[in-house]
Symmetry: C2
């Protein structure tokens, strides 16, 4: 199958048509052989009613692969409206980390209703997993894995795989533990194939594999997986005992989430936006940033009004205000974006703070001189006043240097105080640079007033 060969839109229309004609029972036939990830996309094009009809008619095994892939809003709707029997069938086929992801968004009462569908043992395991914060390794991990003692053999491993593999198919490794259940090695499936059945795991394992602890932030986990190219990351508790593993789907999801979060915060939106589809709700998600910006800029307006007499004397000073604040804003955004990105990918750590800030200031000085000279020339040619050019050029240099420092310092400061640096948002940095920029520019102009 090449992924292009699936026409999501067409299939969604066909599902709608089947529901309209009350032929829902033909849905499985229509979607036979379509990948669950594609069915998830199809379901996202349907309204709530059709979506319910789709899930009621899908084979539970397929439905269990589709459910974790759809919008959170739609998941909640389905959890609420599907028949208990149908739901329990679907959940029974799902991995524990997927179930926990579903439950994490729900109110406690609704969680309880769904937990009641499980037998006591599974229920206890799920409750334990629910206790880990959502965005940690513990909150992301699945507890289904194959672990054997290091003195066991390839033969034992193959037996264990035979016993387990009905449940989950994405095993690339088995884990090796010592008598205290501490993770001491891993063995790939290829290793099992290549070695004699009587070989002990200890002799063929890769010792001391990379692992994370349950309390590690999901972003760290994803970055570790990326750095070391790991499709699966084992999770240990504080005592080093193997308690779960984080699989590729979660690693890819977290990497995408974090990138989307950085982009969203820079732009003053919010990554959760995509979970909603109503315009009013999306507008509501974006509005707070706009209102914050609005009040910040009113501060800029008030600063400007303090220089009313300067502006009355030389109105052409006002013309250059957009230039000054836009360049301050852009420089600040460049520094912020690079620092946020490098913090996210682990390129820089807090110990590099000072050299990093100095570097951004250095870049700001170089570009401030370049832009200052340019605007000086333009102001002179346009307004015919070389002294005005000098004042504007100096203001530009000051604004660009200050903006690049603010842009670099704010995210690093937030990181130091353990706040996600991505919320040192573009809008915040831009607005504060606008206020500062107007103050510096009109302040300088007022100082040099008599000379102009």
């Amino acid at each position: 199958m090449t992924p292009e060969s699936v026409d999501i839109r067409k299939l969604a229309q066909n599902v709608e048509a089947l529901v309209d004609r009350h032929e829902e029972d033909r849905i499985p036939e229509l979607l036979d052989g379509v990948h669950p990830a594609d069915i998830a996309e199809i379901s996202e094009r349907l309204d709530a009613e059709d979506q319910k009809a789709l899930f009621e008619n899908l084979d539970v095994e397929v439905a269990s692969d589709v459910l974790p892939e759809i919008y959170e809003d739609a998941q909640e709707d389905l959890l609420e409206h599907l028949e208990a029997e149908q739901l329990s069938g679907i959940l029974g086929e799902m991995e524990d980390d997927e179930i926990v992801d579903l439950l994490d968004g729900l109110e406690v009462a609704k969680q309880e209703k769904i937990l009641a569908l499980f037998d006591p043992e599974d229920d206890l395991n799920l409750r334990r997993l629910l206790e880990y914060p959502e965005d940690t390794a513990g909150g992301r991990m699945t507890t289904s894995f194959i672990a054997l003692h290091q003195d066991q053999t390839v033969r034992d491993a193959i037996r264990a795989i035979r016993a387990e593999v009905e449940e989950a198919e994405d095993y690339n490794f088995i884990y090796v533990v010592d008598s205290a259940k501490r993770l001491v090695g891993l063995v790939s499936m290829v290793d099992l194939i290549l070695h004699k059945r009587g070989t002990t795991l200890k002799t063929i394992m890769e010792p001391d594999p990379i692992r994370v602890t349950t309390d590690q932030d999901q972003e760290d986990v994803a970055n570790i997986a990326k750095k070391y190219n790991l499709p699966v990351v084992p999770v240990v508790d504080a005592a080093g005992r193997l308690v779960g593993r984080i699989t590729l789907d979660d690693i890819l999801e977290v990497l995408a989430e974090e990138a989307a979060e950085d982009i969203s915060f820079l732009a003053g939106t919010h990554e959760d936006e995509e979970a909603h589809r109503s315009m009013i709700r999306i507008a509501g998600v974006r509005l707070p940033w706009l209102v914050l910006g609005l009040f910040g800029e009113i501060l800029a307006a008030m600063v400007m009004s303090r220089f009313e007499s300067t502006l009355e004397t030389i109105l052409s000073l006002a013309f250059f205000i957009p230039v000054i604040i836009a360049l301050g804003g852009s420089t600040g955004m460049q520094s912020t974006a690079i620092v946020i990105r490098d913090l996210a990918t682990g390129e820089i750590t807090l110990r590099d703070t000072l050299p990093r800030v100095l570097r951004e200031i250095g870049i700001g000085i170089i570009n401030g001189i370049a832009c200052g000279l340019l605007i000086m020339l333009v102001a002179y040619l346009w307004q015919g006043n070389p002294r005005l050019g000098v004042v504007i050029g100096l203001a530009m240099l000051a604004v660009v240097v200050i903006a690049s420092s603010v842009g670099a310092i704010v995210p690093l400061l937030l990181k130091r105080f353990n706040v996600d640096p991505a919320i040192a948002t573009g809008p915040f940095v831009t607005t504060s640079n606008d206020v500062l920029g107007i103050f510096i520019y009109l302040g300088l102009a007022t100082l040099f007033m008599r000379w102009l």
Copy 2:
């Protein structure tokens, strides 16, 4: 090993100390057991001389894992300065796609010098791979894979793995082909373990697996891998014949590159920036965006100067200019960021263009009304002039609606003309919105002049 237990900075200092004391030969001992990805980070902290000493002294097998992970600039330096013998040893241990990545950045003369190190057969294979554009599936794939005919058995597969596995260890699947070498299925290592040696692959394979073609864009490939949770993606030629596979390291790298690119373009920087370390070069990479913004804003200044007489009459109109352009800029940036992100993740396709633009305009109208009312109130309370409030409020509504349309339309237009929508950069959208915003605001004020 927990990743925190490696102190990159300390180890880098120790490498420097060894080089200073001319004890380079103790480097392997110092770095024994350190993961190649960590050695790559260590090497990035060293100057060119120390880096060369590091690579000259590392075991070729380790060096071959480290080299692909370091900065492009440093790679080029090393390719140029390492002894031919050392270099050929390192390259001999590398996968063909990694070698092609190294060569892709080089001038033809330097490529030839390095290609001459290979024997004719490898050389031919590398030349073939070099012909694929760098950013396509063909340019990213490795040609090392295990493919068997569908009538062969589990026993044959195990034999093939035994023969191949010295070369590369990350085999999770073997591929199944028909007599014309067309990809028809895949078999996981677990499947091989679970089935009798005499079973034919045809009976246990997953038929018709997801694949990409050599000419597909690397971003598509990464999105397909992400959507279907694939650690490896097989690559076929136009006739459907299996020619390579794209491994997890490339998938993760492309996902990160694309996210970094989106962030960088929004902020008006460039993702290649990280390949440089000199402040002057980084400043040079960022400067074009600043100069572009500068000239855009000079246009805004000129628009403002056309309304000089309006401003002379009511100077307080100027105070609200930062508010108007900042809100226009923010709204435009929100729309641009969301559209770019959704295009990148495949959430929207070009067929959704019109509904998508309409949705952004709808959101713009809602937020434009909210912000317009707010600024109307502020202007009235502050300046005591209700009519000024009405004009500013109306201008705000118009600017926000237009900015959100521009922010959504520009990236979608670029995508339609096959330009990377991420270059519908934040700075470009912001600047054009600033010019439009000032024109609309002062134009409206001039129209209502007598009434104010």
